[in-house]
């Protein structure tokens, strides 16, 4: 058994978006093959996930020769939070750590307050982190998309 902050689908989604964000102006489009290679993910599965991002208007997709995916206006303005929300829902940001159906200030689980601090920390970070920040790290060789 293994706990995870994000699902694999979500990790692929984030890395795909970051990769697309690293592409230079004028050629900001990439096909699924290139994306999957860049982030070392299974191609078909990644394609499915990108479909969701397209449906949710974070990506644009173009069919046919020279087609591919690119980040939409909305995607460019969206915080990391939004990608997670679209793929994993927001249970990681609001759900009870111990599984209580109704966990709140008035009916808290045994670690409600301590966890709230962590969730808020996480939420704040995800709300303020942008693709641009992340892409910049990749572009300058400070951070990496694979291995």
């Amino acid at each position: 058994i293994s706990a995870k902050m994000f699902s694999k689908a979500c990790k692929y989604a984030i890395n795909s978006m970051v990769f697309l964000a690293t592409l230079p102006e004028g050629q900001e489009r990439a096909g699924i093959k290139d994306i999957a290679f860049a982030i070392n993910s299974p191609e078909a599965f990644t394609a499915k996930i990108l479909q969701t991002l397209v449906r949710e208007n974070l990506l644009l997709s173009i069919k046919g020769p020279n087609g591919g995916f690119e980040i939409s206006e909305e995607g460019r303005k969206s915080p990391l939070y939004r990608i997670v929300q679209v793929i994993d829902g927001d249970s990681i940001f609001v759900g009870c750590a111990l599984g209580l159906q109704e966990c709140s200030e008035s009916h808290p689980c045994a670690v409600h307050h301590k966890f709230k601090a962590i969730r808020d920390h996480l939420t704040g970070m995800m709300m303020t982190t942008t693709l641009r920040d992340m892409a910049l790290g990749i572009q300058t060789g400070i951070s990496f998309l694979k291995t």
Copy 2:
């Protein structure tokens, strides 16, 4: 798809331990039926999880009439961190948020530093939170194990 800080198995493990920690001196043992009822979990599945906790010496189990589970010496001294580690492993504390196999200071993912802060926050909290703390909240009616 849904991300989760802890697996269900782990939540059941934690809640079971907390419930056992709330039992008064002299009758600190409970059977699987009582435990599962107290934390609103599936009985058979919870039993499996407790087996692991017994194997890892966080719990003692006694078979036969008046048998059941109780927290071991080691269990009583262990931080919440240990329960998670036993059931979910420590990937939540050390794993890469974006799935990089080798994610480190020298080869970081795009959110390595920001996530490190959160993981450290989480780890610190889990290392310092004790069953006793949690049980006290339950006993005083400040916090809850179910609904």
